[in-house]
Amino acid sequence: MTLRDWVPIFALLVPGLGLILVLIGSVVYVAVAQSFGYYALLGQSAFSLEFWSDVFDRKLFSRAVRYSIYVGFWSAVLSVALAYPLAIWLRKPFPGSIGLGALLKAPLLVHGLVAAFLYINVISYNGLLNQFMQGIGIWSEPRRLQNDPNAFGVLLLQVWKNMPFALLLLTGAVQSISDDILDASRDLGAGPWARFCKIIAPLSISGMQAAMVIIFIGALADFTFQTTVGPTNRQSMAQLMVSFKSRGDWHSAAVVGVSLMTIALLGSALLAFTSRVIMRGGLR
């Protein structure tokens, strides 16, 4: 190809590539540079590994990493695990299935912060749940349910918010499986579990992987749910990053930000690979 051939191709690619390289690339570049001591808001900008070493030495950071991975992993797994049976159930239309599908996807329209505050109203000390449990005589006094130390509240909200997204992707993947294939497997004696393992799962694996990866990345970087209903004795990575930033420590915030991006990249690749291996019944 000549230069003349390349010019229109390059021109056509510029809008997409420009968005990625200039907008995203510049942000990533600044974050990486800042984590190594450049772009100092105050003081001298110079190369330094001090910020990486200081942040990595802190227990706060290692705990935030473990906690964010915990939230990201379980949010992805639980959302997909709940969405799969629903997607299979809604695969063939039945009276009311469209309305039901729309209802299940309703959480996509509700902002996470709104959901978090609604959840607090339900579980707070004088909230609906405490009032109900006391009203029916199961609890004698209100219980403290807010900011639970195992982050069950955060996981509940993550699954509530992300399950419809997984359902959206999986419904499309499951509906694309031909009836003929499922009928053939049924004729050959495959039960529901065998049909899921040997037909549905392998043929919908791309949708499942996409759902897992996108939910994992979003939940890994959770800030809203964590700061509203999350445990008070640990911080998510996004929360830690904001906490450093609010103290004016942009370099440490950048270290956490770059770590978050790296974990999101590696974690989602590992999650996609592992889920593929499991759904296909092993390495092959």
């Binding site: 808001l41 008070t232 004795n233 609010s246 103290r247 004016g248």
Partner: protein
């Protein structure tokens, strides 16, 4: 055409070019007020209670005919903006509000205009909580941290006053006391004063050393010993909400914050407030005029109004602040004057930040 555009731009530039502070130094106060009215508006960067301040400044707007704009923004965002645009010829900030101790972290004379041109008023406060604002910063908001409590659960005679009293309260009433370690300073004020009392470390010294940080260990041990008997809350407002909801009986709070919430009917009026004898931190917020303020005369007039006895009396009445002008009336405060003797200053930086990090690592993460 191009020449016309250039000429128009130059004319417009001349028209909107700000009058810089250096031009004010030779002006009388009346001339500054006249200049301020010509400028016509002032932008005040303050990070809290913006809606309330927008209402409160109406008397200034009526008196001077100068419009006040208060943009939304948080503390960190505002301060980063002020620092980031310090080298611009003309910035966006006319009057900048900041925690008084935060002003200590920057070079005042390089960032802010002198306030020497204000009319003489010996009642104004430029030294607060161990920080000297000199000619560049004036306090406009006095605040005091203490303990909010539910008088239906704790009588005033039984209020914990010392570290030992708090330990006894925690043991006698498990999980009825909570404090935050982030998102607000009331909890940090509480735990830092407990650390100061238990470990005997001098917080007025900002020097950081391993020996000084290690000396805090008895304080961390104290918190860990009673860890099952108190709870960690999410923020300043969470503390007050939980006392108002009767979940907690006591929690650290800011006097002005509690008074504001009570005045707006957002929490119960019955909640009371006191400063324990072991001491809790007090201080306030100040205002300064950045060197590149676009409306320096209007900013000067606004700072004069903000720190005047009348405005400080109004803040005390409406927001429950400690007045920052000696001539103001402080009769609407939540605590009697004798309790103000227990006020402590915030620990000096950078030691205080290191203590906060160490507290998270040694107490919060051990839970």
């Amino acid at each position: 055409m191009f020449k016309k555009i250039l000429a128009a731009a130059a004319a417009l530039g001349a028209f909107i070019a700000p009058v810089h502070a250096s031009d004010l130094s030779d002006m009388s106060w009346n001339e500054i007020v006249a200049q301020a009215k010509e400028e016509g508006n002032v932008t005040w960067y303050v990070w809290y209670l913006q809606d309330d301040f927008r209402r409160a400044i109406s008397s200034f707007e009526d008196e001077y005919g100068i419009a006040v704009r208060i943009p939304d923004g948080d503390n960190a965002g505002n301060s980063q903006k002020m620092l980031a645009e310090k080298d611009r010829k003309t910035g966006d900030i006319d009057v900048f509000a900041w925690g008084y101790d935060s002003f200590e972290t920057v070079e005042l004379s390089t960032l802010f205009n002198s306030l020497n041109n204000l009319p003489k008023d010996d009642g104004r406060v430029s030294k607060l909580a161990g920080v000297d604002g000199g000619d560049h910063v004036l306090a406009f908001w006095g605040n005091q941290s203490g303990i909010a409590y539910d008088p239906a659960k704790v009588s005033s005679a039984d209020l914990p006053q010392s570290v030992e009293d708090f330990a006894k309260f925690w043991t006698d009433h498990p999980n009825k006391f909570g404090f935050n370690y982030e998102k607000g300073g009331s909890g940090p004020s509480f735990y830092q004063n407990v650390l100061r009392n238990v470990a005997g470390v001098d917080f007025t010294n900002g020097e950081v050393s391993d020996a000084r940080l290690s000396a805090l260990q008895p304080g961390f041990d104290f918190f860990n010993k009673y860890a099952e008997n108190y709870i960690i809350t999410a923020s300043n407002v969470d503390n007050i909400n939980r006392v108002s909801d009767k979940e907690l009986w006591m929690a650290p709070a800011w006097e002005d914050h509690l008074a504001g919430l009570q005045n707006r009917g957002e929490v119960r009026k019955e909640i009371k407030f006191y400063i324990p004898e072991m001491g809790m931190n007090g201080g306030g917020n100040g205002v300064a005029i950045p060197k590149n303020a676009p409306h320096p005369a209007a900013a000067m007039v606004f700072v004069n109004w903000l720190t005047s006895p009348d405005t400080q009396t109004m803040f005390n009445r409406d927001f429950g602040t400690a007045p920052m002008n000696a001539a103001a009336d402080d009769s609407a405060a939540l605590v009697p004057n004798e309790q103000r003797a227990f006020r402590q200053s915030w620990g000096k930086q950078p030691f205080r930040s290191k203590v906060e990090e160490a507290f998270i690592d040694n107490v919060i993460l051990e839970r």
